[in-house]
């Protein structure tokens, strides 16, 4: 079926020409997708003097690991920033997934008057639809007033509040589809709602939780606007640090590429490994709804 259909775009050529054209387009797309990553990795290993020449090839002729040594050395400031990123991402993921699962289950099971459950669910969705920059400045003032400016908490709370909508909508769909009989038979056996939720429902929703955790972790690891607004020094994360390469330090490609690789590579590897969960998360809602 699919093979037949994909001929449609190229009908007009002979069968072999058609196939070659399709394969050619896909290969070109793969090249355009991967080449920038290749350049990033190459530049992160390129000795400093090679950057100045426009004759140097796309891949360095000699490899150096000095930039990575600087990024990853435990005494350096960059290592502290890397650690910040790990802490913020881990905390965001744990808090967003935990509170998100609870609220989704609550909304799916609780019978509130005036369809209040649906209304609360929809208000979560609103967060996805307004410009985040509207919030950034007042959030900055709010955190200053709370005395939380430049703390992990300020960055983590911002990230949790922005990822909760994704988690809630993923989990809500799962809990609503969850077979009621399973919970009912446990109820007959005298299981309270807490026992049912933690020992029956939750273990069966692990795939959905993995999807939610993956999306949350990626978001937090990559987020720039709020991290730069409320965590400028002590709670600085990698995306904020790398954005500084353009403004105050001039262009320092080697260290910049090494840091870029440290930001990009873990996400790439995880995305490739957990591809199925990722796609499910990215397409949830859009296709069904």
């Amino acid at each position: 079926m699919a093979a037949n259909l994909s001929h449609a775009a190229t009908s007009g050529f002979g069968p072999i020409g058609r196939r070659l054209l399709v394969v050619g387009i896909i290969l070109l797309a793969l090249l355009v997708t991967l080449a920038p990553f290749f350049v990033l990795f190459g530049n992160s290993l390129r000795p400093a003097d090679e950057f100045l020449s426009d004759k140097s090839g796309l891949w360095p002729s000699q490899l150096t690991f000095e930039y990575y040594a600087a990024v990853l050395s435990a005494n350096g400031t960059t290592f502290r920033i890397l650690l910040n990123s790990v802490i913020v991402t881990a905390a965001t993921t744990v808090i967003a997934v935990t509170t998100g699962c609870l609220v989704a289950y609550g909304l799916a099971r609780l019978k509130l008057p005036f369809r209040l459950s649906t209304i609360i669910g929809l208000t979560f969705l609103i967060v996805r639809f307004y410009p985040k920059i509207t919030i950034a400045i007042p959030y900055f003032v709010l955190m200053r007033d709370f005395g939380l400016r430049d703390t992990y908490a300020a960055v983590v709370i911002a990230h949790v509040s922005m990822t909760l909508p994704i988690v809630v909508w993923l989990m809500l769909a799962f809990f609503e589809d969850f077979p009621k009989q399973l919970e009912q038979s446990a109820m007959m056996d005298g299981c309270g709602i807490l026992r049912r939720f933690f020992s029956i429902v939750l273990p069966l929703t692990v795939p959905a939780i993995a999807t939610a955790a993956l999306l949350t972790a990626f978001f937090s690891w990559n987020e720039f606007l709020f991290a730069s607004a409320v965590g400028p020094l002590n709670a600085k994360t990698l995306p904020v640090e790398i954005s500084g390469f353009i403004t105050d330090k001039g262009t320092v490609w080697g260290p910049m590429s090494a840091m870029g690789t440290v930001i990009v590579l873990p996400v790439m590897v995880l995305a490739l490994i957990a591809q199925r969960y990722l796609v499910r998360g990215l397409t949830a809602g859009a296709v069904k709804g």
Binding site: A8, I26, T99, F124, F129, Y139, N222, L225, S243, A271
Partner: protein, 310 residues
């Protein structure tokens, strides 16, 4: 295990105290509290800020109430007016390119062979990495003298432009980068939508002797229209508010050539600390975005109703 006995014992005790409803309500409270405190309260607070006179570098407390003065100021801000035009142009151009490319790639990579599955996985990568990293990578790619893009062009004997340094070309470069980063989003949604099309309908069309072109035009594209509109909505919204790429490639330059709406709000608010004015611009753009969402959703509802009738 005494630990688990204690935990479950506590759970049962709690439930006997506050009941099933009480527990479910307790489940809802933390997440709602976080979103209210960190999103909705700042949202309303920013509206309040937009109505007072407050420059953070001069005063740590909000100043006098000035009504809509911050909003009327926008009309005489020529940087802003140009930024709005530029942002709309950018949003439409990059969204259109992404829809076309994303659909073509989804359509051509349909199928379950291993090679196609691997290709689909790789094609997603640009959208999952950090936008600031995308900007960083492309600043190197497009560097005028030593960038790989110009190296390749030079070897092919094609003129090598200063992609990010030329005032007219810089915004085009931002479009190219945005297309590289977000075509995967359109692609992944369309790929999922294509694989969930009812195969009976496609088979029936084929049995009736429809050519692949006809099936594409008359069966597949109409069935994908509602999803397509949703994708357009997401992409337009995000494109209109793009900040990270501008921030890490051109930083608004050269001159004001790549000042987009979000970049100007960021500059006003977090660089010059004119937070009242920044809040006014962001509320105006929020209202614009809401109107856009509403318009597209109404349009989508009309299309699906029309499809049901047909």
């Amino acid at each position: 295990m005494w630990v688990s006995r204690t935990v479950w014992g506590f759970a049962d005790w709690l439930e006997s105290k506050i009941g099933e409803r009480g527990i479910l309500i307790a489940f809802i409270v933390p997440a709602v509290a976080i979103v209210v405190v960190a999103q909705f309260y700042p949202l309303l607070y920013s509206f309040y800020i937009s109505l007072v006179d407050w420059t953070l570098s001069r005063s740590t407390e909000p100043g006098d109430f000035v009504g809509l003065a911050n909003y009327t100021k926008m009309a005489s801000d020529s940087v802003l007016i140009q930024a709005v035009g530029r942002t709309i142009w950018f949003g439409l151009a990059s969204t259109a390119a992404q829809i076309v490319l994303g659909f073509i790639l989804a359509y051509l990579t349909m199928g379950e062979t291993l090679a196609l599955r691997v290709a689909r996985t790789i094609l997603i990568l640009p959208m999952v990495i950090a936008p600031v990293a995308v900007g960083t990578i492309w600043r190197m790619m497009l560097s005028a003298r030593v960038g790989p893009v110009n190296q390749v062009l030079r070897n092919l004997g094609i003129p090598t432009p200063d992609w990010l340094g030329d005032p007219t070309l810089a915004m085009v470069s931002i479009v190219i980068i945005d297309v590289w980063e977000w075509t995967p989003f359109v692609f992944v949604i369309f790929a999922a939508a294509l694989s969930s099309l009812p195969s009976e309908v496609l088979k029936a069309a084929e049995v009736d002797g429809a050519t692949p072109w006809q099936i594409l035009r008359m069966v597949i594209l109409p069935m994908l229209a509602p999803v397509g509109l949703l994708v357009v909505m997401f992409r337009l919204l995000d494109a209109l508010l793009t900040l990270d790429i501008v921030f890490t490639t051109t930083f608004g330059g050269p001159g004001f050539a790549t000042h987009t709406l979000s970049f100007w709000i960021y500059q006003q608010g977090l660089r010059y600390f004119n937070i009242s004015y920044a809040a006014a611009i962001s509320w105006a753009s929020l209202i614009g975005c809401m109107l856009l969402v509403a318009g597209l959703l109404v349009w989508r509802a009309r299309i699906s109703r029309w499809q049901k009738e047909a």
